[in-house]
Amino acid sequence: MPESKDLPTRWDLIVVGAGPAGLAAAIYAARARLRTLVLDESVPGGQVKTTHKVSNYPGFPEDVRGKDLAAAFALQAERFGATIRRAVEITEHDLAGPVKRLVLDEEETVEAPAVVVATGARPRELGVPGEPRFKGRGISTCATCDGAYFDGKAIHVIGGGNSAVEESLFLTQFARKVTIVSRYDQLKAEAAIVEEALHHPRIEVVWHAEPRAFTGEGTLQGVRLEDLRTGALSEHPTDGVFVFIGHHPRADLVKGLVPVDERGFVRTGEDMSTPVPGLYVAGDLRAKPFRQITTAVADGTIAALAAQRYVKGLERHAAQVMSPPGPGGAVAETAGSPA
């Protein structure tokens, strides 16, 4: 797609991360006529783009492919005038001051009075021997990317949450057998898909077990599982492993600027504000009990509305400073920085 290399420097709002939270923020901000730039190190969609289907996003009576939903979010934001810069790397950043600056790919600088950081979370790794070695050589975190290569194969899925169970069902299209490895004695996903998985002829579950090592010559050939009740180790041959065990916050941009919880997720105000005026955090990066597309979209919406109020407040304030105070009226209003 054509993408101009030269971006304007000044924006009203910069959104970092083009997942559901960031794109919802962009839709609202662009409709509010804020000059809005969205940055993403990948293509738009965040984790949704690699989710094979989404069944619980309101407005879609039939399942929608994650990829299509992601593309629709992006098109909608662009339709209202937001600029989305794809595959960009932020090589320098200063978000602490009144003007927030970001350097892109070591060559371009963009700035804005307000930034919404919606960088989300990255898949968590197991941290067991063999995992780094076999990543991309049999271990994957993207079923839509790699699933098709496992036709007729026997594979393992690690994890028992929504992603793990959804993607296991997807993988049964290709694999002869999908073995879900769950730490618990149940699957902690939505009841509807748990039932489907447990009755699926190609899905088996190993309960209360965790991987302890991945083994093989060159490519992945086996996974060593520990039975968490007995401590017994057992070797399981496998053609491939998909890992869906939750996420780590991607908080690099706001490190040291904002309070975080014990797992590193960012604590914000109810309006997505942080202690830094003009800096908002939305989506999976936030400390919150539930991480869904719908909750990300809600966060993004709120962040955009709060940022809009903040930016307009700054503009009014600047206008007052520039011109002598008029007679009465809206003179006393100050920049709407978060209280």
Partner: protein, 112 residues
């Protein structure tokens, strides 16, 4: 769109990679693969930067499964690096997190 990245097939591998006589970065990509789409513009940008010094190639993994398997590539995207002698060098890059700077660093190491 790709001026600096050439697509090859398994049949070209020996000539284009092993006997290239210059360092090679080879990207195994797939369809239905957002991380592959995300890598493409970065790969292109770095290819442009190193034009004439390092050969940037891409190969469709689905269409060249045997070669991918022989090289132990089982994730998309995967970038494999080869030195002038056609020996694989450095760490393979893969997944959704391939940064332009990481790619550049690997390519620079091939020239060192």
């Amino acid at each position: 769109m790709s001026d600096h990245v050439k697509e090859i097939t398994a049949a070209d591998f020996d000539r284009e990679v092993l006997a290239a006589g210059e360092p090679v970065a080879l990207d195994f990509f797939s369809t239905e693969c957002p991380p592959c789409e995300a890598l493409a513009p970065k790969f292109e940008a770095v290819a442009e930067q190193f034009a004439g010094r390092v050969r940037f190639l891409k190969i469709f993994r689905q269409g060249n499964r045997e070669l991918a398997q022989r090289l132990g590539v089982s994730g998309s995207p995967t970038v494999v690096f080869f030195d002038r002698a056609g020996q694989e060098r450095g760490e393979r890059l893969g997944g959704d997190e391939i940064k332009r700077t990481a790619l550049k660093a690997q390519v620079e190491a091939l020239l060192a």
